[in-house]
Symmetry: C2
Subunit: 336 residues, 2 copies
DNA sequence: CTGAAAGCGCTTACAG
DNA sequence: CTGAAAGCGCTTACAG
């Protein structure tokens, strides 16, 4: 129960060497005999030495922290998706001797272009931005010159770095799977102008239809949210499709409730698939066939990008796609 | 887009004063004329000065960061409760010029008593521990002497500091409410030996029964989980109570599914209440009457405690209870 | 009201 | 292989 403040100097004194030698030994640098290195490490351990990152930080001008920014609206009760993402980021950052500092961005700060306090305090060497933010906010943070990596979101600005899941390919694969199961009347559920992810997923769906020479029908493109992003009841088409490809699990879950109320059984009467593999995928009955976003791989990729950007801020590695993974459950019926 | 590295010295040079004066001005300390202070602040702003926390940290031996530890098992897909909690903590910390660093503790690290890397790096001045951890881990982290505040969890060790929701009072109030609505056959759903929260909630329930001279019936105490914490199907008693007081919303939600399968309607045939006001409270149909844990108030209280402990580590303010808030919805029927 | 000096605990050249 | 010196950017105590 003692709050120790052992320094390298203390270790050096104890062993009758200089603190330079201790620094080299603990940092595994050249120029200390292996024997002495070993001895120093043992003593450090024994004395309960803890490295003082602040000192290193000041010397090198780096904090060894990365800010992870998530808009508050993505961290609501129903959306632990991004918070789980943070977990992977945190682990990936530790692997490269960094720590993550999570910053929830409020609507207010986003609107008024208030940068995170950790920016002003120089507590971070860069920001990983998780999810979509307003263009003006992106510009504001980008103008500071601090290294930036965008995760799970991209824009048309090619000078920025992005790591995203391959939404296009994921929904393409999913639609192929539905078609392989004999479906041809497949609706896409998602408002095309709401988010860039929905658009890309839609395009993957469309690509699959094109490849299979199934015409795209306007009445099978169903809105799921209004312009503010608020989820709506999906209007079920008169002619019931045999499958609904939903842009996310939550919408698939809500759609299944609506279908149930209309007496439509899933998957007997029609199939429903989702995307994300979040809580709604398993809350749904039957559980949803969906595409899992490989957040772990995305997190690792983003952290790597960030570390490279910190050592070379001019670096621009562009948009990196990470492939998702099909999860097969019980919400699809084979029509064959 | 320039990565600036303006220091106090730069500002001082620009104005022909010393960096000491700049430090005093920016820190709003005594000994600089208001005029000069104002001028310095303007120039700092104009030059894009950012405070270097690392330098202050080294000087004072404080990092101005607090680690927030959450066991990974509490941050699963279905449990964003604690992650929301973190949000409040983060805001409360910013109010006192601190930043929060979220650390997800893996089962493995917990078992092997591996302390967070941010501890070894001296990146934090204290830890707020969110939720229950093993006793051995608590001992291990406590022995380091680093200031500790436990949030939403307590033990019998009086030398530690806790901030918890008033589980006892919340369930007491809830049971009173059921009784006021004419219920007398009220079951409690929760395994009494699983967690300390469940125990306290049970005792609040019991207290209410005692006050109303309703006998406690063993067959109305229903297990909801096994020893490992895994949720079980609740065994509905032969003689159906008129109300179920569940120890949490999730269990209430699951119970309602079970009841539905047995053809029991809520609230017509029996009432069900929960606790926590989490996602399950509104996912349930009808929505659950429940007790909302006042996480914001708890977060503020914990941060205050922490700040006081940092300046005086010997301080032991003990167990602080924060009152919850009844949320009335549609899952209770009046028997009158 | 203002500032020169010392020091926080490291690391990076450089000298031996 | 080992170490004395300088410096990172602040703040504190002291002198003027």
């Amino acid at each position: 129960m003692q709050q120790n403040h052992v320094t390298m100097k203390d270790i050096a004194n104890r062993l009758g060497v200089s603190s330079v030698t201790v620094s080299k030994a603990l940092g595994d640098k050249e120029g200390v005999s292996d024997e002495l290195k070993q001895k120093i490490k043992e003593i450090a351990q024994e004395m309960g030495y803890r490295f003082n990152t602040a000192a290193k930080a000041m010397k090198e001008g780096l904090s060894y922290n990365i800010g992870v920014v998530i808009a508050e609206r993505y961290a609501s009760v129903t959306q632990s998706f991004y918070l789980q993402f943070y977990q992977y980021l945190s682990t990936a950052l530790e692997d490269v001797q960094y720590s993550g500092i999570l910053h929830m961005l409020s609507e207010e700060d986003e609107g008024q272009l208030v940068l995170p306090r950790i920016y002003h305090d120089r507590k971070v060497d860069g920001f990983i931005i998780l999810g979509q933010l307003s263009n003006t906010y992106i510009s504001a943070i980008h103008e500071t010159g601090i290294p930036l990596v965008f995760l799970d979101f991209y824009t048309d600005r090619t000078e920025l770095d992005y790591v995203i899941t391959d939404n296009f390919y994921g929904m393409y694969e999913m639609t192929n799977y539905l078609i392989a199961n004999g479906h041809r009347d497949i609706a896409f559920v998602g408002s095309l102008h709401a988010t860039s992810s929905i658009q890309d997923r839609f395009l993957g769906y469309y690509k699959s239809l094109l490849e299979h020479r199934i015409p795209l029908r306007q009445e099978y493109i169903l809105n799921d949210r209004d312009e503010s992003g608020k989820l709506l009841d999906v209007a079920i088409p008169e002619a019931l499709p045999t499958a609904f490809a939903c842009n996310c699990d939550q919408v698939a879950y809500l759609l299944m409730n609506t279908l149930r109320k209309q007496g439509v059984r899933v998957p007997e009467d029609c199939s429903v698939v989702g995307f994300d593999n979040d809580i709604y995928a398993t809350l749904a009955e039957p559980a949803l066939t969906t595409v899992e976003v490989d957040r772990q791989e995305m997190a690792k990729t983003a952290v790597n990008k960030m570390v490279r950007k910190i050592s070379d801020p001019a670096l621009n590695s562009g948009r990196v796609l990470v492939r998702g993974k099909m999860i097969y459950r019980e919400s699809v019926r084979s029509m064959k």
